[in-house]
Amino acid sequence: MAEFERRHLLAGLAALGVGACSRVGESETASSIVDTAESWHREAHRALAGRQRLAPEFDRSQVSPSFRGNGSLTVDTPEYRAELANGFPNWRLAVTGLVDRPLNLSIETLRALPQRVQVTRHDCVEGWSAIGEWTGPQLSTILDAAGVRPEANFVVFRCADTLYGRRYYESVDMVDAYHPQTIIAHQLNGENLPEKNGAPLRMRIERQLGYKHAKYLTGIEAVASLDDVGEGKGGFWEDVADYQWYAGI
């Protein structure tokens, strides 16, 4: 850990002691402390669980009676309505950025790839959980097909939905991008993905909270840095409300 970070941490610990004042939370020192704490969490999780350890998978009999939709519940455009009514014949998933072979994949193509089926628990940052069975190709299959270049450090998920007038997006690093349970789901509980859960495609990032699981997916982009994506914090909620980019806690 860099020396200046340690100093910030000590200053912050002192601040905790002298009073839990909200203004402390807005200072630059405080934000560097919470980011440090967050990166410790991420590093501790990665050290304990390794890169490939799986989130628990449940039996099909354990799925919850319904699966709540949260955040965007639809894409509010006539084009989306028409696609939804017709089974998404023209929907495409674009694979772009730092790849050797950019791809443009139809839903049919994604369905024809080797599929992973996983019954997992979805944990919302708000506190609730739901269990569902997800079906789709692994992101790693698609990244390998596109030939991700070594300089790529992150994968950005582009979405069709908007919230507060902004386009939703999310991102993960290569550890989570290549995790075996990171899939592009097109089915929930054996049916085509419902509208409120992100039809026709959504991400599953099983070792992180729900806001990382981008819905209404239109694109996958390999990038070296997140600085020039959105406002640079790596995701919609990260930009809008300062949510932590690493959502494993």
Partner: protein, 227 residues
């Protein structure tokens, strides 16, 4: 009572961390005000408890709802709390404070011992006595707080983390599922609040100058006068 430097240091760091954790925890509770048993839960009919909305003066950040900031406070103070608790446990096991002063053997749990202590509080006898060691009720209370509720907060907190679960799925199972862990986290937090209220009340009953002095500089003013 004189307290070792390790006890005084940990006591105040822990107190500060707990205040931050509790108040930011109330904001996190406000984000979804229902508790469930088992692994999943989101519908009102699944809930075993509908939690009140905690008022702005009790939450962190105060007087505004900001889940991201509350989680930052919570997950940062959690390091201080968890690492501090682990360090304190190691110290009191090594220096004998736990075995000598806190460990409550079977004799502490007898109705006679407990009733005798309560009688002592009611008659004021406990207050007058300059006791060098903890009475049976204090031993039971401190043993439960140190041994059950404080570590319980850490373990149930870890069990709610989707990044920890792949490393320790048994931890989540031990509590009966992620939503059960969340419920226990809430229950333990309020058990600790209950302890805090009684604890502070007892400080006033026993004489705040003497007890606070003991926890700050290890000796009461009287000790100093004599020393």
């Amino acid at each position: 009572m004189r307290h070792a430097l390790s006890t005084r240091l940990w006591h105040w760091i822990n107190a500060a961390a707990l205040v931050v954790l509790f108040m930011s925890g109330l904001t996190i509770s406000n984000a979804h005000r229902r508790l469930y048993w088992g692994n999943y839960g989101f519908a009102p009919e699944d809930a075993w408890l509908h939690v009140m909305r905690f008022p702005g003066w009790a939450t962190l950040p105060m007087f505004r709802y900001d889940l991201a900031e509350a989680r930052d406070w919570h997950n940062t103070a959690a390091w201080l709390f968890a690492v501090g608790l682990l360090a304190y446990w190691i110290v009191i096991l090594v220096n004998g404070h736990f075995r000598r002063d806190i460990a409550a053997g079977p004799r502490a749990y007898t109705p006679q011992a407990v009733l005798g202590t309560i009688r002592g509080y009611l008659t004021g006898e406990n207050r007058r006595a300059e006791k060098a060691d903890y009475n049976p009720l204090q031993r039971i209370a401190y043993a439960f707080v140190l041994g059950v509720f404080l570590p319980g907060m850490v373990l149930t907190g870890l069990a709610m983390s989707p990044g920890i679960e792949p490393a320790a799925p048994w931890l989540v199972e031990a509590f009966g599922g992620r939503q059960s862990a969340r419920s226990f986290h809430f229950i333990f937090a309020f058990a600790l609040l209950g302890f805090l209220i009684v604890h502070v009340a007892m400080v006033f009953v026993a004489g705040p100058v003497k007890t606070l002095g003991g926890m700050i500089v290890a000796r009461s003013p009287k000790d100093r006068a004599h020393g």
